[in-house]
């Protein structure tokens, strides 16, 4: 009788070539060897250390500033959205060039003498922008707390307190969203809008929320990865606020 090789037994264990089975049933010696191998391999286990719910965010925070810039590829330029953007850019450049060529030289002189005023206006703009970023960052922080309260709430739960917070945040969010659009921050405006929608849902829930009500809101928060987006956006804003502003740099250079 031809006995099983070690390879046969291993393949049998992993279910890769179950041809050894009939022989194992008939051969006591191979059956013992197989049981030993099985006991050995069954004892080889490796549990990965647990990673919490925020692990994805931690990884993202660790790599986001190391990601290379991605420019839309030429293939993407045929995407209607990019095609439109390209067309618009070409029109603007052409118009700018034409207007520049036709503009009277006297106007250019006026612009040069007004440089100081332009600098002051730019400084004001920077300060306003930073004030808005700070306010929105705090707004996201407060929204995060309300969302976390809801995610961790046990049913039945009186949501009156959270609904009052959410109501206040909705009013503020509308203003911030308009300002974000005005300073050309569509990403920020989009997250504000998504948060706003969920906050409104919270406001409109019955004050005495059942398990089903809470589950419904949680599902909406989860499916939009809202907490993740809020935290990424908060971190983005804090990162930007920590950078020295052009105003500060400019002032220190003068000084």
């Amino acid at each position: 009788m031809k006995h099983c090789s070690d390879e046969d037994l291993l393949l049998e264990y992993y279910g890769e070539a179950p041809t050894a089975s009939p022989h194992l049933d008939a051969c006591g010696e191979c059956s013992v060897r197989y049981r030993e191998l099985r006991a050995l391999l069954d004892s080889v286990t490796l549990d990965a250390p647990a990673r919490g719910d925020h692990y994805g965010l931690e990884v993202w925070q660790a790599i986001r500033h190391r990601l290379p810039d991605r420019q839309p590829s030429w293939r993407d330029m045929f995407n209607p959205r990019w095609a439109f953007a390209t067309f618009a850019a070409v029109v603007l450049l052409t118009a700018g060039f034409t207007v520049g060529r036709m503009w009277p030289p006297a106007e250019q002189a006026v612009v040069r003498t007004d440089t100081r005023h332009t600098d002051v206006a730019a400084t004001d703009e920077q300060a306003q922008r930073r004030a808005l970023l700070l306010a929105v960052s705090e707004h996201f922080d407060r929204s995060d707390r309300v969302l976390v309260e809801i995610m961790n709430a046990a049913a039945p739960r009186d949501l009156t307190k959270e609904q009052t917070w959410a109501g206040d945040l909705v009013s503020a969010s509308r203003l911030y969203r308009q300002s974000a659009i005005a300073i050309n921050e569509p990403g920020m405006a989009a997250v504000l809008e998504e948060v706003e929608r969920v906050l409104l849902d919270i406001v409109h829930e019955p004050s005495r929320a059942t398990a089903a009500d809470l589950e419904d809101i949680r599902r909406r928060i989860d499916s939009a990865a809202l907490l993740f987006k809020v935290r990424v956006m908060t971190n983005e804003l804090q990162y930007e606020l920590e950078q020295p502003s052009p105003t500060t740099t400019s002032t220190s250079t003068i000084g």
């Binding site: 070690d6 990965a48 250390p49 990673r51 190391r66 810039d69 991605r70 990865a225």
Partner: protein
């Protein structure tokens, strides 16, 4: 945009939308970590592998076929990054000792554990870890994919870019080394 809408998320990420790629990282990071840990057996290496894998994935997004499964594609990237990490660890160790990198430590001859201090499972784990450290990167990855991840030999060959027979022999060699390391325990039972 919801995470479930993978095609839309990928399209935006390919166009340079960092936030969209962040959603993919958030959705796949824990799975990637578990795989990286099983392949490297080291928490810090696994963390590095996860980060490097996502950076590579971001760089190579243009090559990702929209019809494919992002998780499957990422799995292969994590395996490649883990192989690189293991090769680097392997050559560092070889430089340090001046010995061939694939030398098997004589685990069976090492100090006997004190039964009072060590639980049986802890001792098995210790010996398995020691024997795993002696495996070549290919043996280690092939074994981990077969044993912990339940991948077929055929899949392992494709993932590692080697013939099926080479993948099979890598698993055999790994099991033989682990078996040698655990042999003394078997004799004491």
């Amino acid at each position: 945009m919801e995470v479930g809408d993978v095609a839309a998320v990928l399209a935006r990420a390919s166009g340079g939308d960092g936030e969209a790629f962040g959603l993919l990282v958030n959705a796949h990071a824990r799975t990637a970590f578990r795989l990286a840990y099983r392949l490297t057996g080291d928490e810090r290496d696994a963390e590095d592998v996860v980060q490097e894998s996502f950076i590579r994935a971001y760089r190579q997004l243009d090559r990702f076929e929209a019809r494919s499964n992002f998780g499957t594609w990422l799995h292969r990237i994590v395996v490649n990054c883990a192989m690189d990490a293991l090769r680097s660890r392997h050559s560092r160790r070889a430089e340090r000792t001046g010995d061939p990198a694939d030398e098997v430590p004589d685990v069976a001859q090492s100090d006997a554990p004190s039964p009072e201090r060590l639980a049986w499972s802890t001792e098995i784990r210790r010996r398995v870890e020691a024997s795993m450290a002696s495996l070549t990167p290919q043996e280690r990855v092939a074994f981990a994919l077969r044993h912990y991840e339940g991948r077929s030999i055929d899949e392992i060959g494709r993932t590692l870019g080697v013939q099926k027979s080479a993948a099979k022999h890598a698993v055999f060699r790994a099991v033989r080394k682990i078996r040698t390391a655990l042999e003394p325990l078997r004799r004491t039972t």
